[in-house]
Symmetry: C2
C-alpha cells in the first residue's frame, strides 16, 4: 500500500491521514479508468474506495477542513448508494431463487426404520402421506420464482440505467475532480499538525467504542437462544415493526465498517479486532435476508397473483426472516465469545 | 397404585403383569363411568389406560395368549385414535391461532440507537420504513385465522360425533367387555409362570433397545446445529417429502412411549431414563407442529381464497415447519447430553 511509507513512523496526523486517503483516491481513479473494460470490477473498486474515504473522513473528522470534507462525504454516500443497487438486486434474486429451490427440493428422505411396523396397531400411526395433494402449491413455487425474477430483473435494469446516468452526470464529474485533488493533497485542519501517535488513536478508539456500545444494546442474549422466533414476529404485521427490529443491527453493521476502516489507517493504534471479518459477513447476511424478505412481501402485494403464488411467497418470506434470525444467532455467538480478550479500552458496561 | 402389592417381590411374571394390567383396566372402567359427568376427563382416562394396556401387551407379548391379546391391541388402537382426534383438533387450532397472533403482533420495538444519526451521509442508510404498504397482508392474517377456525372447528365437530358414535357402537361395547374381563383376569401364556425377575427385564430392555437404536438413526447431529433449515426443505414440494422426513421422529416418539409404559410395570428392571419426560414432550411438540403445518397446507388448497390469505398461510406453514425444526433441535440436545450415564445395557453402536 505504501501509505505507511509516506506517513513515516513519527509524522504528523495530517501526513498519515493524507497517505491513507491518497492511496484510496488512487484506487478510486484506477476504478474510473477501468470502467471501459469491466464495469463490475470497476464499480467494485469505486465503491470500495468511496466507502473507505467517506468512513475515514467521518472518523477522523477533526483533522480535515469540514467545509471540504462534509460535502465530499455526502457525495461519496450518494455514489456508494447508487453503485450498490445493481449488485444488490443481482445478489437478492440469486438468494431468493436458491431459497425457492431449497424449499421445493424433495431432499434426501430419511431412511425409514426397519422394524417400525412391528408396532402393529398398538398405537396410532402417523397419517399416510397424501402424495398428490400438493401439486398446486409446488406450482406456486415456480410462479413465485418467475414473479421475483421479473420484478428484480426490472429493478436491476433500472439500477443499471441509474448508474450509467449517474456516471455521466456533472455531479459525478465534480466528485471525480474532488477525488483527483485528494490523490495529491488533503485539505487538513490546523489540528492535523500534531503528532499522529497522539491524535489518531483517540479518534479510532472513539469509533470502536461507538461500535461496542451499539452492539451492547443489541438483544444478543435472546439471539443466542436459537429458534426464539423473534425475527418472525413482524412477518404478518406492519413492515414498520420489522424495520424497527432490524435497524439496530444495520446500525451496528455500519459502525463495524467505520471501525474497520479507521483501523486501516497506519498509527491509528486501533485494535485489530479478530471478530471484524466474520461479524461483518454475518451482519451483511442479516441485511441481505431482511431486504430479501421485504422484497418478497412487496412481490406478494402484486395485484391479481394466484393464491398458490402468494402461498409460496409467504413461505419464502418466513424463510428469509428465519435467515435473519439465523444471522443474529451466529453474530451473537461470534460477538460474545471473543468480546473480552479483544476489547480495547474500558468497557462501557 | 397397589400393583406392586399384588405382584409381590418374587411373584411370577404373569402375576406382576396381571397386577399392572388390572390397575389400568380399573382406570379404564373408571373413565367409562365418568363419561356422564365430564366427557373430556373421561376420555383422557380412557385414552391413557388404553395406550398403556396396548403398549404393555405389545412389549410383554410372549407372556399373554396372542389369540386374545392381538385383537385386543388392535381394538385399543382404534379407540385411542378415535378418542384422540377431537383434542388434537382443539390443540391444533389453539396452536395455529396463537402462532398467527405472534406472527402479526407488532412486538416491542427495539430501542433506536441514540447517536446513530451522527453517521450522516457517510454510508448508505437502511431504507425508510414503508408504513402503510402491508395493510393487505395483515388483513390476510385475520382471514387465515377465520379460515382455519372454520375448517378445524368443523373437523372437531365431526371428530366429536365420531367419538359419540364409537362409544355407542357394539364394537366399543365388545371392547369394554374385554377390559372388564381384564380387570379380574389376564389370559396368560404358559411362559408367564416363570419368575418376573427373570422374564420381564429382557423384554423391557428389548423395548428400550429398540428406542435407542431408532433414536441413533435420527439425524441428531444435523438437528443439533440450529437453523439448519432441514425441516423447511419440503415446504413447497410434495407432502410426501415432509412425511418421509418426519416419520422416523414420530416412530421414535412411539417407541419412547412403549419404553415408558414398559418401565411402569413393577420388576421390569427397566431403566428409569431421566430423558423420557422431556423427550416425550418434545417429540409430541414435533408431531403437533408437523401436523399443524400439514393442516395449514391443506387450508391453502381451499378454492378461491384471497392471495393475502394464501400468503399468511404460507408464512404460518413455514413457521410451523420451523417449530418442527426447533423441536428436533431441543430433542437432540436432551437426547445426546444425557445418553451415556442413563444408558442401560451395551450400546448398539
Amino acid at each position: 500500500m505504501g501509505s505507511s511509507g509516506r506517513g513515516g513512523g513519527s509524522g504528523t496526523a495530517g501526513d498519515v491521514l493524507t497517505g491513507y486517503l491518497c492511496d484510496q483516491a488512487t484506487t478510486f481513479l484506477r476504478g474510473l479508468s477501468l470502467r471501459g473494460e469491466s464495469e463490475a470490477d470497476a464499480d467494485t473498486l469505486l465503491r470500495r474506495s468511496a466507502r473507505r474515504i467517506a468512513g475515514v473522513l467521518h472518523t477522523y473528522a477533526p483533522l480535515t477542513d469540514p467545509a471540504w470534507s462534509e460535502p465530499l462525504r455526502a457525495e461519496l454516500g450518494w455514489l456508494s448508494a447508487t453503485l450498490g443497487r445493481e449488485p444488490q438486486y443481482i445478489e437478492r434474486l440469486a438468494r431468493l431463487l436458491e431459497a425457492l429451490r431449497r424449499l421445493s427440493a424433495p431432499g434426501a428422505p430419511e431412511p425409514v426404520l426397519a422394524g417400525a411396523d412391528a408396532l402393529g396397531g398398538a398405537l396410532p400411526e402417523p397419517p399416510p402421506p397424501a402424495a398428490n395433494g400438493s401439486g398446486p402449491l409446488a406450482l406456486g413455487a415456480a410462479r413465485a420464482a418467475a414473479l421475483l425474477e421479473r420484478q428484480l430483473t426490472l429493478a436491476r435494469t433500472r439500477a443499471h440505467s441509474a448508474t450509467l446516468q449517474a456516471m455521466g452526470s456533472s455531479r459525478f464529474h465534480g466528485l471525480a475532480d474532488s477525488i483527483a485533488v485528494l490523490a495529491s493533497e488533503v485539505p487538513l485542519s490546523p489540528t492535523a499538525d500534531g503528532p499522529a501517535a497522539a491524535l489518531l488513536p483517540p479518534l479510532a478508539t472513539q469509533a470502536y467504542r461507538r461500535l461496542t456500545d451499539a452492539a451492547d444494546t443489541l438483544p444478543l442474549h435472546r439471539a443466542a437462544n436459537p429458534y426464539n422466533a423473534e425475527a418472525m414476529r413482524a412477518s404478518l404485521g406492519a413492515e414498520l415493526t420489522a424495520d424497527l427490529q432490524d435497524t439496530p443491527w444495520h446500525q451496528v453493521r455500519i459502525l463495524l465498517r467505520l471501525s474497520r476502516y479507521a483501523a486501516e489507517v497506519p498509527e491509528s493504534g486501533a485494535p485489530g479486532d479478530p471478530r471484524f471479518a466474520e461479524a461483518d459477513l454475518l451482519l451483511r447476511r442479516h441485511r441481505e435476508a431482511a431486504e430479501s424478505a421485504a422484497a418478497v412481501a412487496a412481490a406478494a402485494r402484486t395485484p391479481r397473483i394466484a393464491p398458490a403464488t402468494a402461498y409460496a411467497l409467504g413461505v419464502l418470506h418466513a424463510d428469509q426472516r428465519h435467515e435473519v434470525e439465523a444471522a443474529r444467532f451466529a453474530f451473537s455467538l461470534v460477538w460474545r465469545q471473543a468480546a473480552l480478550p479483544a476489547q480495547a479500552g474500558p468497557r462501557a458496561r
